[in-house]
Protein backbone atom coordinates (compact mmCIF):
# COMPACT_ATOMS: atom_id res chain seq x y z
CA UNK A 1 0.00 0.00 0.00
CA UNK A 2 1.22 3.48 -0.79
CA UNK A 3 2.36 5.51 2.22
CA UNK A 4 0.41 8.75 2.63
CA UNK A 5 3.64 10.77 2.77
CA UNK A 6 5.26 8.96 -0.15
CA UNK A 7 6.52 11.10 -3.00
CA UNK A 8 5.39 10.51 -6.55
CA UNK A 9 7.72 11.18 -9.47
CA UNK A 10 6.14 14.51 -10.37
CA UNK A 11 5.89 15.60 -6.74
CA UNK A 12 9.57 14.85 -6.39
CA UNK A 13 10.34 16.96 -9.46
CA UNK A 14 8.32 19.85 -7.99
CA UNK A 15 10.09 19.56 -4.64
CA UNK A 16 13.51 19.53 -6.27
CA UNK A 17 12.60 22.55 -8.39
CA UNK A 18 11.41 24.41 -5.28
CA UNK A 19 14.69 23.50 -3.54
CA UNK A 20 16.70 24.81 -6.52
CA UNK A 21 14.74 28.05 -6.72
CA UNK A 22 14.67 28.75 -2.99
CA UNK A 23 13.00 32.17 -2.44
CA UNK A 24 12.15 32.59 -6.12
CA UNK A 25 9.84 29.58 -6.27
CA UNK A 26 6.36 30.30 -7.61
CA UNK A 27 4.20 28.83 -10.38
CA UNK A 28 6.03 30.29 -13.38
CA UNK A 29 9.57 29.64 -12.18
CA UNK A 30 8.81 26.12 -10.93
CA UNK A 31 7.24 25.21 -14.27
CA UNK A 32 10.19 26.64 -16.21
CA UNK A 33 12.69 24.88 -13.96
CA UNK A 34 11.04 21.51 -14.50
CA UNK A 35 10.64 22.06 -18.23
CA UNK A 36 14.24 23.17 -18.67
CA UNK A 37 15.68 20.29 -16.68
CA UNK A 38 13.42 17.49 -17.93
CA UNK A 39 12.16 18.68 -21.28
CA UNK A 40 8.62 17.78 -20.24
CA UNK A 41 5.77 20.22 -20.80
CA UNK A 42 3.86 20.85 -17.59
CA UNK A 43 0.23 21.98 -17.40
CA UNK A 44 -0.23 24.69 -14.82
CA UNK A 45 -3.27 22.87 -13.37
CA UNK A 46 -1.22 19.73 -12.78
CA UNK A 47 1.54 21.76 -11.15
CA UNK A 48 -0.82 23.42 -8.67
CA UNK A 49 -2.48 20.08 -7.93
CA UNK A 50 0.95 18.72 -7.00
CA UNK A 51 1.71 21.81 -4.90
CA UNK A 52 -1.60 21.38 -3.05
CA UNK A 53 -0.80 17.74 -2.36
CA UNK A 54 2.69 18.61 -1.14
CA UNK A 55 1.29 21.31 1.09
CA UNK A 56 -1.27 18.88 2.52
CA UNK A 57 1.59 16.48 3.30
CA UNK A 58 3.48 19.30 5.00
CA UNK A 59 6.41 19.24 2.56
CA UNK A 60 5.98 22.81 1.35
CA UNK A 61 4.37 25.98 2.62
CA UNK A 62 2.89 28.63 0.39
CA UNK A 63 1.96 32.26 0.76
CA UNK A 64 0.42 34.89 -1.50
CA UNK A 65 2.52 37.89 -2.46
CA UNK A 66 1.30 41.39 -3.14
CA UNK A 67 -0.27 41.93 -6.57
CA UNK A 68 2.14 42.89 -9.36
CA UNK A 69 1.30 44.89 -12.51
CA UNK A 70 3.06 42.50 -14.90
CA UNK A 71 0.61 39.80 -13.88
CA UNK A 72 -2.49 41.91 -14.45
CA UNK A 73 -2.52 43.00 -10.81
CA UNK A 74 -2.59 39.45 -9.51
CA UNK A 75 -0.66 37.89 -6.65
CA UNK A 76 1.97 35.18 -6.86
CA UNK A 77 1.77 32.04 -4.78
CA UNK A 78 5.25 31.64 -3.37
CA UNK A 79 6.22 28.11 -2.39
CA UNK A 80 8.87 27.21 0.17
CA UNK A 81 10.35 23.90 1.12
CA UNK A 82 9.60 22.93 4.71
CA UNK A 83 12.02 20.94 6.89
CA UNK A 84 9.76 17.90 6.42
CA UNK A 85 9.98 18.36 2.65
CA UNK A 86 13.76 18.59 2.83
CA UNK A 87 13.85 15.32 4.83
CA UNK A 88 11.46 13.63 2.42
CA UNK A 89 13.63 14.61 -0.54
CA UNK A 90 16.78 13.36 1.18
CA UNK A 91 15.12 10.05 2.09
CA UNK A 92 13.78 9.64 -1.39
CA UNK A 93 17.22 10.17 -2.92
CA UNK A 94 18.86 7.78 -0.46
CA UNK A 95 16.19 5.19 -1.13
CA UNK A 96 16.70 5.42 -4.88
CA UNK A 97 20.49 5.45 -4.67
CA UNK A 98 20.38 2.32 -2.47
CA UNK A 99 18.21 0.67 -5.09
CA UNK A 100 20.55 1.72 -7.91
CA UNK A 101 23.68 0.75 -6.06
CA UNK A 102 25.63 -1.90 -8.00
CA UNK A 103 23.30 -1.85 -10.95
CA UNK A 104 24.55 -0.88 -14.40
CA UNK A 105 22.08 -0.83 -17.20
CA UNK A 106 23.93 -1.10 -20.46
CA UNK A 107 22.05 -0.35 -23.65
CA UNK A 108 20.87 -3.68 -25.11
CA UNK A 109 22.71 -4.74 -28.27
CA UNK A 110 20.87 -6.56 -30.97
CA UNK A 111 22.49 -9.81 -32.09
CA UNK A 112 22.96 -10.20 -35.81
Amino acid sequence: MKRPDALGEFEQAVLVAVAHLDDEAYGVTIRREIETRTGRTIAVGALYTAIDRLEAKGFVTSSMSDPTPVRGGRSKRHVRLSPAGRNALRQSREFLSRMWNGLRLEPTRRRV
Binding site: G27, A43, M64, S75
Partner: protein, 355 residues
Protein backbone atom coordinates in the same frame (compact mmCIF):
# COMPACT_ATOMS: atom_id res chain seq x y z
CA UNK B 1 -1.54 42.89 -32.29
CA UNK B 2 -3.37 41.74 -29.22
CA UNK B 3 -1.65 42.53 -25.96
CA UNK B 4 -4.02 40.52 -23.81
CA UNK B 5 -4.46 36.84 -23.22
CA UNK B 6 -7.21 35.18 -25.30
CA UNK B 7 -10.41 36.31 -23.62
CA UNK B 8 -12.37 33.10 -24.13
CA UNK B 9 -9.56 30.95 -22.86
CA UNK B 10 -9.16 33.14 -19.81
CA UNK B 11 -12.88 32.97 -19.16
CA UNK B 12 -12.82 29.20 -19.40
CA UNK B 13 -9.86 29.00 -17.07
CA UNK B 14 -11.39 31.41 -14.58
CA UNK B 15 -14.55 29.36 -14.52
CA UNK B 16 -12.68 26.10 -13.90
CA UNK B 17 -10.68 27.48 -10.98
CA UNK B 18 -11.67 27.79 -7.38
CA UNK B 19 -11.62 31.42 -6.18
CA UNK B 20 -8.56 30.74 -4.03
CA UNK B 21 -6.52 29.58 -7.02
CA UNK B 22 -7.54 32.30 -9.42
CA UNK B 23 -5.04 35.07 -8.66
CA UNK B 24 -2.01 32.77 -8.72
CA UNK B 25 -2.86 30.68 -11.77
CA UNK B 26 -4.34 33.47 -13.91
CA UNK B 27 -1.36 35.64 -13.01
CA UNK B 28 1.16 32.89 -13.83
CA UNK B 29 -0.34 32.29 -17.23
CA UNK B 30 -0.59 35.99 -17.99
CA UNK B 31 3.04 36.50 -17.03
CA UNK B 32 4.19 33.63 -19.26
CA UNK B 33 1.92 34.74 -22.09
CA UNK B 34 3.47 38.21 -21.98
CA UNK B 35 7.00 36.76 -22.06
CA UNK B 36 6.16 34.35 -24.87
CA UNK B 37 4.49 37.08 -26.92
CA UNK B 38 7.71 39.08 -26.87
CA UNK B 39 9.85 36.16 -27.99
CA UNK B 40 7.58 34.06 -30.24
CA UNK B 41 4.81 36.39 -31.30
CA UNK B 42 1.20 36.84 -30.40
CA UNK B 43 -0.22 33.84 -32.27
CA UNK B 44 2.23 31.39 -30.69
CA UNK B 45 1.58 32.85 -27.26
CA UNK B 46 -2.16 32.54 -27.75
CA UNK B 47 -1.82 28.92 -28.87
CA UNK B 48 0.33 28.16 -25.85
CA UNK B 49 -2.25 29.79 -23.57
CA UNK B 50 -5.09 27.76 -25.07
CA UNK B 51 -3.11 24.53 -24.71
CA UNK B 52 -2.41 25.31 -21.05
CA UNK B 53 -6.06 26.08 -20.37
CA UNK B 54 -7.36 22.94 -22.05
CA UNK B 55 -4.83 20.72 -20.34
CA UNK B 56 -5.55 22.26 -16.96
CA UNK B 57 -9.34 22.06 -16.94
CA UNK B 58 -9.61 18.53 -15.56
CA UNK B 59 -7.13 19.01 -12.66
CA UNK B 60 -8.64 22.42 -11.91
CA UNK B 61 -12.17 21.04 -11.71
CA UNK B 62 -11.03 18.17 -9.54
CA UNK B 63 -9.24 20.52 -7.16
CA UNK B 64 -12.24 22.84 -7.03
CA UNK B 65 -14.40 19.83 -6.19
CA UNK B 66 -12.06 18.66 -3.45
CA UNK B 67 -11.76 22.14 -1.96
CA UNK B 68 -15.47 22.49 -1.32
CA UNK B 69 -17.09 19.88 0.94
CA UNK B 70 -20.59 20.73 -0.26
CA UNK B 71 -19.60 20.40 -3.89
CA UNK B 72 -17.91 17.10 -3.09
CA UNK B 73 -21.01 15.85 -1.26
CA UNK B 74 -23.11 16.69 -4.29
CA UNK B 75 -20.69 14.83 -6.54
CA UNK B 76 -20.84 11.71 -4.39
CA UNK B 77 -24.62 11.85 -4.15
CA UNK B 78 -24.69 12.00 -7.95
CA UNK B 79 -22.55 8.89 -8.13
CA UNK B 80 -24.92 7.18 -5.69
CA UNK B 81 -27.89 8.08 -7.87
CA UNK B 82 -26.16 6.62 -10.93
CA UNK B 83 -25.45 3.47 -8.92
CA UNK B 84 -29.14 3.29 -8.03
CA UNK B 85 -29.94 3.60 -11.71
CA UNK B 86 -27.73 0.62 -12.41
CA UNK B 87 -29.54 -1.30 -9.67
CA UNK B 88 -32.83 -0.61 -11.41
CA UNK B 89 -31.38 -1.65 -14.74
CA UNK B 90 -29.88 -4.95 -13.63
CA UNK B 91 -33.21 -6.78 -12.90
CA UNK B 92 -34.62 -5.68 -16.21
CA UNK B 93 -31.64 -7.19 -17.98
CA UNK B 94 -31.92 -10.53 -16.19
CA UNK B 95 -35.69 -10.96 -16.37
CA UNK B 96 -35.67 -11.99 -19.98
CA UNK B 97 -38.44 -14.56 -19.79
CA UNK B 98 -41.01 -11.93 -18.76
CA UNK B 99 -42.08 -8.76 -20.42
CA UNK B 100 -39.89 -6.00 -18.99
CA UNK B 101 -42.20 -3.46 -17.37
CA UNK B 102 -42.00 -0.02 -18.88
CA UNK B 103 -41.42 1.49 -15.47
CA UNK B 104 -38.02 -0.12 -15.00
CA UNK B 105 -36.36 1.84 -17.77
CA UNK B 106 -38.20 4.91 -16.54
CA UNK B 107 -36.71 4.44 -13.07
CA UNK B 108 -33.31 3.86 -14.59
CA UNK B 109 -33.57 6.95 -16.75
CA UNK B 110 -34.75 9.03 -13.79
CA UNK B 111 -31.91 7.90 -11.57
CA UNK B 112 -29.27 8.23 -14.23
CA UNK B 113 -30.39 11.67 -15.35
CA UNK B 114 -30.65 12.85 -11.77
CA UNK B 115 -27.25 11.40 -10.91
CA UNK B 116 -25.58 12.82 -14.00
CA UNK B 117 -27.13 16.21 -13.29
CA UNK B 118 -25.76 16.09 -9.75
CA UNK B 119 -22.28 15.16 -10.95
CA UNK B 120 -22.33 17.87 -13.61
CA UNK B 121 -23.66 20.43 -11.16
CA UNK B 122 -20.95 19.51 -8.67
CA UNK B 123 -18.19 19.83 -11.26
CA UNK B 124 -19.46 22.70 -13.31
CA UNK B 125 -21.64 24.90 -11.24
CA UNK B 126 -20.75 26.80 -8.15
CA UNK B 127 -22.44 25.80 -4.96
CA UNK B 128 -25.96 27.01 -4.55
CA UNK B 129 -28.67 26.26 -2.10
CA UNK B 130 -30.48 23.13 -3.12
CA UNK B 131 -34.02 23.02 -1.82
CA UNK B 132 -35.08 19.59 -0.67
CA UNK B 133 -38.24 19.99 -2.74
CA UNK B 134 -36.51 18.38 -5.71
CA UNK B 135 -35.73 15.36 -3.62
CA UNK B 136 -39.31 15.17 -2.31
CA UNK B 137 -40.81 15.40 -5.76
CA UNK B 138 -38.44 12.86 -7.27
CA UNK B 139 -38.99 10.52 -4.38
CA UNK B 140 -42.76 10.80 -4.61
CA UNK B 141 -43.00 10.38 -8.35
CA UNK B 142 -40.59 7.52 -8.62
CA UNK B 143 -42.23 5.75 -5.68
CA UNK B 144 -45.62 6.32 -7.29
CA UNK B 145 -44.52 4.86 -10.59
CA UNK B 146 -42.87 1.94 -8.84
CA UNK B 147 -45.95 1.18 -6.79
CA UNK B 148 -48.10 1.45 -9.91
CA UNK B 149 -45.94 -1.19 -11.51
CA UNK B 150 -45.85 -3.42 -8.45
CA UNK B 151 -49.55 -3.39 -7.63
CA UNK B 152 -51.40 -2.73 -10.84
CA UNK B 153 -48.93 -4.80 -12.81
CA UNK B 154 -50.56 -3.84 -16.05
CA UNK B 155 -51.48 -0.63 -17.82
CA UNK B 156 -55.09 -1.84 -18.23
CA UNK B 157 -55.86 -1.60 -14.51
CA UNK B 158 -55.85 2.13 -14.46
CA UNK B 159 -58.12 2.74 -11.41
CA UNK B 160 -56.24 0.19 -9.31
CA UNK B 161 -52.99 1.67 -10.45
CA UNK B 162 -53.90 5.19 -9.51
CA UNK B 163 -55.28 3.98 -6.17
CA UNK B 164 -51.96 2.32 -5.51
CA UNK B 165 -50.14 5.50 -6.39
CA UNK B 166 -52.23 7.43 -3.88
CA UNK B 167 -52.21 4.87 -1.08
CA UNK B 168 -48.83 3.25 -1.35
CA UNK B 169 -46.94 5.95 -3.15
CA UNK B 170 -46.48 7.96 -0.02
CA UNK B 171 -45.44 4.93 2.00
CA UNK B 172 -42.87 3.98 -0.58
CA UNK B 173 -41.74 7.57 -0.87
CA UNK B 174 -41.08 7.57 2.86
CA UNK B 175 -39.25 4.28 2.61
CA UNK B 176 -37.15 5.51 -0.32
CA UNK B 177 -36.41 8.88 1.27
CA UNK B 178 -33.17 7.80 2.95
CA UNK B 179 -31.78 6.18 -0.16
CA UNK B 180 -32.37 9.09 -2.48
CA UNK B 181 -29.33 11.23 -2.99
CA UNK B 182 -28.96 13.83 -0.32
CA UNK B 183 -28.65 17.40 -1.39
CA UNK B 184 -26.71 19.90 0.67
CA UNK B 185 -28.54 21.15 3.72
CA UNK B 186 -30.51 24.34 3.39
CA UNK B 187 -28.19 27.15 4.36
CA UNK B 188 -30.91 29.48 5.51
CA UNK B 189 -31.70 32.91 4.19
CA UNK B 190 -30.16 34.96 6.97
CA UNK B 191 -27.16 36.15 5.07
CA UNK B 192 -27.80 36.11 1.41
CA UNK B 193 -26.01 38.23 -1.07
CA UNK B 194 -27.13 39.13 -4.51
CA UNK B 195 -25.42 41.25 -7.14
CA UNK B 196 -27.06 44.60 -7.43
CA UNK B 197 -28.43 44.09 -10.93
CA UNK B 198 -31.10 41.94 -9.32
CA UNK B 199 -31.23 39.37 -12.10
CA UNK B 200 -30.70 36.50 -9.68
CA UNK B 201 -33.14 33.80 -8.82
CA UNK B 202 -35.25 33.72 -5.72
CA UNK B 203 -35.81 36.44 -3.21
CA UNK B 204 -32.81 37.84 -1.42
CA UNK B 205 -32.98 39.08 2.11
CA UNK B 206 -30.49 41.81 1.31
CA UNK B 207 -28.64 42.98 -1.72
CA UNK B 208 -25.00 43.64 -1.13
CA UNK B 209 -22.84 44.43 -4.09
CA UNK B 210 -19.78 42.26 -3.76
CA UNK B 211 -16.55 44.21 -4.18
CA UNK B 212 -14.16 42.66 -6.69
CA UNK B 213 -10.90 44.16 -5.43
CA UNK B 214 -9.07 42.89 -2.40
CA UNK B 215 -10.19 44.61 0.81
CA UNK B 216 -13.04 46.28 -1.08
CA UNK B 217 -16.18 47.20 0.78
CA UNK B 218 -19.74 46.82 -0.44
CA UNK B 219 -22.31 49.54 0.04
CA UNK B 220 -23.69 49.82 3.55
CA UNK B 221 -27.06 48.32 4.35
CA UNK B 222 -29.05 49.48 7.33
CA UNK B 223 -31.41 46.97 8.83
CA UNK B 224 -33.93 47.57 11.50
CA UNK B 225 -35.29 45.21 14.09
CA UNK B 226 -38.99 46.01 14.11
CA UNK B 227 -39.56 44.23 17.39
CA UNK B 228 -42.70 42.38 16.26
CA UNK B 229 -41.32 39.01 17.20
CA UNK B 230 -44.67 37.82 18.58
CA UNK B 231 -46.27 37.90 15.13
CA UNK B 232 -46.44 34.74 13.08
CA UNK B 233 -45.27 36.84 10.15
CA UNK B 234 -42.28 38.28 11.99
CA UNK B 235 -39.84 36.31 9.87
CA UNK B 236 -41.31 37.80 6.71
CA UNK B 237 -40.95 41.41 7.79
CA UNK B 238 -38.28 43.12 5.74
CA UNK B 239 -35.32 43.98 7.88
CA UNK B 240 -33.55 46.13 5.36
CA UNK B 241 -34.75 49.68 5.57
CA UNK B 242 -34.35 52.64 3.25
CA UNK B 243 -35.21 55.00 6.13
CA UNK B 244 -32.34 57.13 7.32
CA UNK B 245 -34.19 58.87 10.15
CA UNK B 246 -34.74 56.88 13.29
CA UNK B 247 -36.14 57.50 16.75
CA UNK B 248 -33.55 56.96 19.53
CA UNK B 249 -35.39 53.82 20.60
CA UNK B 250 -34.90 52.12 17.21
CA UNK B 251 -32.58 49.17 17.00
CA UNK B 252 -30.59 49.62 13.83
CA UNK B 253 -27.69 47.60 12.50
CA UNK B 254 -25.23 48.43 9.77
CA UNK B 255 -24.07 45.67 7.49
CA UNK B 256 -21.53 45.47 4.70
CA UNK B 257 -19.59 42.82 2.83
CA UNK B 258 -15.79 42.94 2.73
CA UNK B 259 -13.57 41.22 0.19
CA UNK B 260 -11.05 39.48 2.43
CA UNK B 261 -7.37 39.60 1.56
CA UNK B 262 -6.38 36.96 4.11
CA UNK B 263 -3.98 39.26 5.95
CA UNK B 264 -5.82 39.67 9.22
CA UNK B 265 -8.37 42.35 8.47
CA UNK B 266 -9.78 44.56 11.17
CA UNK B 267 -13.03 46.45 10.72
CA UNK B 268 -14.51 49.33 12.64
CA UNK B 269 -17.72 51.34 12.47
CA UNK B 270 -17.78 55.06 13.33
CA UNK B 271 -20.32 57.83 13.59
CA UNK B 272 -19.11 61.35 12.77
CA UNK B 273 -21.00 64.53 13.48
CA UNK B 274 -21.56 67.31 10.92
CA UNK B 275 -18.10 68.78 11.65
CA UNK B 276 -16.48 65.43 10.95
CA UNK B 277 -15.69 64.81 14.62
CA UNK B 278 -15.88 61.22 15.71
CA UNK B 279 -18.64 60.70 18.28
CA UNK B 280 -18.67 56.94 18.43
CA UNK B 281 -16.48 54.10 17.24
CA UNK B 282 -16.61 50.36 17.73
CA UNK B 283 -14.45 47.52 16.42
CA UNK B 284 -16.69 45.31 14.31
CA UNK B 285 -15.94 41.59 14.17
CA UNK B 286 -15.78 40.17 10.66
CA UNK B 287 -18.20 37.29 10.26
CA UNK B 288 -16.92 34.74 7.75
CA UNK B 289 -18.68 31.82 6.11
CA UNK B 290 -22.19 33.19 6.28
CA UNK B 291 -22.70 34.87 2.95
CA UNK B 292 -24.64 32.96 0.38
CA UNK B 293 -24.92 34.22 -3.12
CA UNK B 294 -28.00 33.90 -5.26
CA UNK B 295 -26.70 33.00 -8.71
CA UNK B 296 -27.31 35.44 -11.50
CA UNK B 297 -25.12 34.33 -14.39
CA UNK B 298 -22.35 31.85 -15.02
CA UNK B 299 -19.75 34.60 -15.13
CA UNK B 300 -20.78 35.95 -11.77
CA UNK B 301 -20.81 32.45 -10.37
CA UNK B 302 -17.30 31.82 -11.61
CA UNK B 303 -16.01 35.07 -10.23
CA UNK B 304 -17.44 35.01 -6.77
CA UNK B 305 -17.63 32.61 -3.93
CA UNK B 306 -18.84 34.72 -1.07
CA UNK B 307 -18.92 32.14 1.66
CA UNK B 308 -15.17 31.78 1.70
CA UNK B 309 -13.89 35.08 0.50
CA UNK B 310 -16.20 37.71 1.86
CA UNK B 311 -16.56 38.76 5.43
CA UNK B 312 -19.64 40.38 6.82
CA UNK B 313 -19.70 43.39 9.10
CA UNK B 314 -22.80 43.43 11.26
CA UNK B 315 -22.77 46.03 14.00
CA UNK B 316 -25.54 47.61 16.09
CA UNK B 317 -25.64 51.41 16.21
CA UNK B 318 -26.04 53.00 19.67
CA UNK B 319 -28.74 55.48 18.70
CA UNK B 320 -30.08 55.78 22.25
CA UNK B 321 -26.77 57.10 23.58
CA UNK B 322 -26.40 59.90 21.01
CA UNK B 323 -27.92 63.37 20.83
CA UNK B 324 -30.58 64.00 18.17
CA UNK B 325 -29.03 65.21 14.93
CA UNK B 326 -27.43 63.99 11.72
CA UNK B 327 -24.41 61.75 11.71
CA UNK B 328 -22.23 60.34 9.02
CA UNK B 329 -21.65 56.63 9.15
CA UNK B 330 -18.22 55.34 8.24
CA UNK B 331 -17.08 51.74 7.98
CA UNK B 332 -13.34 51.12 7.74
CA UNK B 333 -11.45 47.94 6.97
CA UNK B 334 -7.70 47.66 7.24
CA UNK B 335 -5.02 45.02 7.15
CA UNK B 336 -1.29 45.41 7.76
CA UNK B 337 -0.78 47.22 4.47
CA UNK B 338 -3.94 48.83 3.15
CA UNK B 339 -7.02 50.52 4.45
CA UNK B 340 -10.36 51.18 2.80
CA UNK B 341 -13.45 52.89 4.09
CA UNK B 342 -16.98 53.64 3.06
CA UNK B 343 -18.71 56.70 4.46
CA UNK B 344 -21.57 57.78 2.27
CA UNK B 345 -24.40 57.03 4.66
CA UNK B 346 -25.94 59.83 6.70
CA UNK B 347 -28.37 58.90 9.41
CA UNK B 348 -30.51 61.20 11.50
CA UNK B 349 -31.59 60.59 15.04
CA UNK B 350 -34.93 62.27 15.58
CA UNK B 351 -35.91 63.66 18.97
CA UNK B 352 -38.02 61.14 20.80
CA UNK B 353 -38.43 58.97 23.83
CA UNK B 354 -35.33 57.06 24.82
CA UNK B 355 -35.60 53.45 25.93
Amino acid sequence: MSTRVPARAERLLRWSLSPLDRPAILGDLEEEHTALRRTAGSAAADRWYWRQVLRSIAPNLWRRLRADPRREARFHSGLRAIAMGVLFLVPSLFVTSRRVPATVPIEWILCTIFGLCQVIVALVYRRVEAPSRQRRMLSWWSAGILSFWLIAGSWQLIPAGWLSVIVFGWLLALAMWPVWPRLPADLGADFRVQPKDGSGLGSAAWWLELPAESLGLSGLVLSRDWGVTASAHAARLPQVTIDRTFPPSARVRVRAAVNLSGRGERASVELLDCQGKQVWQAPAPLIVGKLVEVPASLDQLADRDPADHFGLIDEALPLATLEPGSYRLRVTVANDIFQSSHSDEVITIAPGQRP
